[in-house]
Structures are given as structure tokens and as C-alpha cells.
């Protein structure tokens, strides 16, 4: 189980690295004053340094409240979390699938799959909702708004 202290330290680490990277890249863009005002790296450099500064502040704050934060648990690997991660995976697959098999097919598969995982067990209901919803999308986006939704790769 993770606790708030460890998570904070992780955030501190990530932001320190990001802040430094931003500041370094910005410095490379040039921060001196030019004909067009401050160089393009000026503002991002300030941002990178600020991020670093806030990371340091957060580090100090975490160390100061070390005992208190260690006691606060952050749930990252309970069964409930896992179900959330599963959903993330399904959504990612769905997104990729849209651009391979086309929108309508991928959405139909996703809806059926997701509803089932969320506890729907009445298959008639699942199918009904899926079909009605897809029809709604088709009428709205396809016919009324003329917004083209991705087609299957083999149709393009």
C-alpha cells in the first residue's frame, strides 16, 4: 500500500526532473533579449525554475509532516482500483480499435464489453441500449451534423 508521503516524494521527483528538463530546453531556445523582445525561452525558463522551486517546497512540506503523511494511506492496488485499471485498459483498446475497424463496430464491442464488466447481466438490456445509442449517434452525427466518424481501415 502506498501512503501520502511516498506519493508526494514521487511527485516531487517527477516534477524536479520535468522542471529541470523544461528549464534546460528553454535555456537552449535563448533567453536573452532580442529584437522581438525576450527570447522564446525566457518564459518557459521561468516556468521550469518555478516547477523546480515548488518541488523543493513540497519536499520540505512532506519532510516536515513526515509522520502525518505516512499515516495517510493511498489506495492504489485494492480490488476496486484494479477494476478501474481494467476499465482504462478496455478504453485504450477501444480507442485503438476505432481507427482499425471503424467507429460503429468498435463502439458496439466496447459498449457490450464495458457494460458487462460493470455488472450488467441482462443481455437483452445490453444489446438494446447499445443499438439505440448507436442509432442515436448515427442520426445525430452522420445525418444531421455530417461529422464523419472513423471508417474501418479497409474501407478508406
Amino acid at each position: 500500500m502506498a501512503n501520502l508521503k511516498n506519493c508526494n516524494l514521487l511527485v516531487v521527483g517527477l516534477s524536479a526532473v520535468t522542471g529541470s528538463a523544461i528549464a534546460a530546453t528553454a535555456y537552449g531556445y535563448g533567453i536573452a533579449m532580442t529584437e522581438y523582445g525576450p527570447g522564446p525561452g525566457f518564459w518557459p525558463f521561468i516556468l521550469g525554475v518555478s516547477l523546480l522551486a515548488v518541488a523543493v517546497l513540497l519536499l520540505l512540506d512532506t519532510l516536515k509532516h513526515s509522520a502525518e503523511y505516512s499515516a495517510q494511506e493511498i489506495l492504489l492496488s485494492t480490488a476496486a482500483n484494479l477494476s478501474a485499471y481494467q476499465m482504462m485498459g478496455i478504453v485504450l483498446l477501444y480507442a485503438v480499435l476505432i481507427f482499425i475497424t471503424g467507429f460503429y463496430l468498435a463502439t458496439a464491442l466496447f459498449l457490450i464489453c464495458a457494460m458487462y464488466r460493470l455488472g450488467a447481466d441482462n443481455f437483452k438490456q445490453i444489446l438494446g441500449v447499445t443499438l439505440v445509442f448507436l442509432a442515436f449517434i448515427y442520426i445525430l452525427f452522420g445525418m444531421l451534423l455530417h461529422i464523419a466518424l472513423p471508417l474501418p481501415i479497409f474501407m478508406e
Binding site: Y36, L127, L131, I147
Partner: protein, 324 residues
């Protein structure tokens, strides 16, 4: 359960039948909806122009719909690339702007005007020299004199470094051998209008449509336009050419098809565009919005894009050599 399975099967069959029949339809062009990719955000100048033109062409051709699609990604390059790479069957068209002639010389893309066949360029807005009405100069020459007396102090607005109006101002500096301070207003010419009206900057070189109401109210004045002929909107304003300085910079938008589109298809589109652009409704639509409509069709538009491309190529190379 069986009822639902049957329902699903029926839907699948009908959907696939529908797609097959659409693919088999091979009538005269156009026989299905035409997609027009607009590489800008909805509501902007290029978008409104494009939608206006295709709306009128749709009413003229009658049989099919023109469907505009906005693709502003990557400063519009993604949208323009999509048109260039689309199947040249006349069912995918697009709008391209003058940036097509500028970006390749700034190293931003490999696309160029050569990837397209023009249908019509409905607008070609010239850069107009606009200053505040209270300014002490009333024509181009006195403005240039003022600039020479105050090098590097006069603030001229533009819509972004490297964008068309900035380049117009650079060309102006070169032509008259003067120096101004360039102040970018990345959100567009409306902000520049507010800035000049509020006397925060001294002037700009930009297309006059955003400034129309201020000019007509007498708050701003327009000294000259960088065009070959006087504009319909401000027929009293001289061109740079008339005053002895041959410089013409215009921001155009062209409706194009990908290169390789068959001639019959292009002819249908160009004929419709030509007809539509000579109607009073067309002229009215643009004039009322403060845009000077043009009717540059087909090969003429191709030529315009080519000429401007050569000009920007030469100019930007010169600028690069001198090290901005």
C-alpha cells in the same frame, strides 16, 4: 433472445448492402457528397469564406452537399496535407491559404502549391497601411518620412512573427529602407484594430476587413494598399504601385483539389465557381463583411499561387541570409 439475434443480423445485412451499393454507384460527377477540408478554426476568415463559397456552389450544382470539415491541427498544415494526399476523384476538396507559399520556405513543410489544382480564389486581401486618424501623416510619403526621422520607434502590429502581415511589414521596411518595431498580436487582426484605436501602437500593414468599421467612423485611416488595383471597398485609397512602389502582398484563400484530379471534374467545379462568383449575391456577401471579393478561377489561381510562391521564396531567402 432469438428475436434480438435476428434483429442484429438484419441490421448487419442492411448496413453492408448499403455500403456496397454506394460504392457501386458510378454516375456523372458529382454523385455523392463532397468533403471540403478547411485547415482553420470555425468562425475565422478562411472558414467563413470557404463556407460561403461552397454554400453558393452547392445551391448552383444542386445535386449533392458540400460538407465542410475543420482541421486546424499543426497550424493548418495537417489539413492541407490531407487534401494533397487525398484520392484525386473530386470528392475531397480543401481550402489553402497564402501560408502554403510561405511555410515551405520557412522549413515548416514540404507541401507546395504544386500539390494542388485550383478551383477558385474568392479572396485576395491586400496588405493595407492603416494608422490612427489623429496621426500627423496623411499619405504614404509623409509616413515614410516620419519613419526615417524616428528609426525603430514606430510600432507596427502584425498577427505573429513569420506570418503574412509580419512579412509584409518586413518587405515594407526593405523597400523604403526604414526600421520599425514589430509588435505581434497572435490572436489576430481584431486585436490589432483595438490596439491602434486605443493608441497603443502606431499602425499596421494588414488586410482591411477587421478595420472597416473603425475606418468608416473616422477613427482610423488607411493610407495605401499593397495591390495591383484599387480595392472595391476603399476606391479612394491609392495603391503602392500608383505611388511608384511596385509591391503587392495579399492574403488569399483558394478552394483546391488534389493534383491529378481529372479535367472533367475540375471543369464542372470551375464552371460553377466562375458562375457563382459573378453573381451580385457573391459580391454582396463578401463586401458586407468587409472582404474584397475576387473571381480568380482555375488556371489564373494556379498562376497566382505560383507567382506568390516565387516572391516569398526570394524574399525569405534574402531575410535568412541577413540573419533576422
Amino acid at each position: 433472445m432469438r428475436k434480438y439475434k435476428a434483429l442484429v443480423a438484419a441490421m448487419a445485412v442492411s448496413l453492408s448492402l448499403g455500403t456496397v451499393s454506394a460504392a457501386l454507384a458510378a454516375d456523372a460527377y458529382p454523385s455523392k457528397d463532397i468533403t471540403v477540408i478547411i485547415p482553420k478554426n470555425p468562425g475565422g476568415g478562411t472558414d467563413i469564406t470557404g463556407r460561403g463559397v461552397i454554400n453558393m456552389m452547392q445551391q448552383d450544382i444542386g445535386k449533392v452537399k458540400f460538407v465542410p470539415v475543420n482541421k486546424p491541427d499543426g497550424n493548418g498544415i495537417v489539413g492541407m496535407a490531407d487534401v494533397a494526399h487525398a484520392k484525386p476523384d473530386g470528392y475531397t476538396l480543401g481550402m489553402v491559404t497564402v501560408e502554403l507559399d510561405i511555410f515551405p520556405h520557412q522549413g515548416k513543410t514540404n507541401l507546395s502549391y504544386k500539390d494542388y489544382e485550383s478551383i477558385i480564389a474568392p479572396i485576395a486581401a491586400p496588405a493595407a497601411l492603416i494608422v490612427h486618424a489623429d496621426a500627423p501623416y496623411n499619405d504614404l510619403n509623409s509616413f515614410v518620412k516620419y519613419l526615417k526621422d524616428n528609426p525603430g520607434k514606430v510600432m507596427m502590429g502584425n498577427s505573429g512573427v513569420g506570418a503574412i502581415w509580419h512579412i509584409a511589414t518586413l518587405a515594407f521596411e526593405k523597400k523604403f529602407d526604414v526600421k520599425v518595431k514589430h509588435i505581434p498580436y497572435p490572436k489576430g487582426t481584431a486585436d490589432i484594430a483595438a490596439a491602434i484605436a486605443g493608441k497603443h501602437i502606431d499602425g499596421c500593414l494588414a488586410d482591411p476587413s477587421s478595420f472597416k468599421s473603425q475606418i468608416e467612423a473616422g477613427k482610423l485611416k488607411i493610407l495605401a494598399v499593397m495591390a495591383d488595383t484599387r480595392t472595391k471597398m476603399f476606391p479612394d485609397v491609392p495603391t503602392f504601385k500608383e505611388l511608384g512602389f511596385d509591391i503587392a502582398i495579399r492574403a488569399w484563400a483558394t478552394l483546391v483539389a488534389p493534383k491529378g484530379t481529372p479535367k472533367e471534374v475540375l471543369d464542372v467545379l470551375r464552371a460553377s465557381a466562375k458562375k457563382v462568383s459573378n453573381t451580385p449575391e457573391f459580391v454582396d456577401y463578401f463586401l458586407k463583411q468587409g472582404i474584397d471579393p475576387t473571381s480568380i478561377v482555375g488556371e489564373d489561381a494556379n498562376k497566382m499561387m505560383e507567382v506568390d510562391d516565387a516572391m516569398y521564396a526570394e524574399f525569405l531567402a534574402k531575410i535568412a541570409k541577413e540573419g533576422k
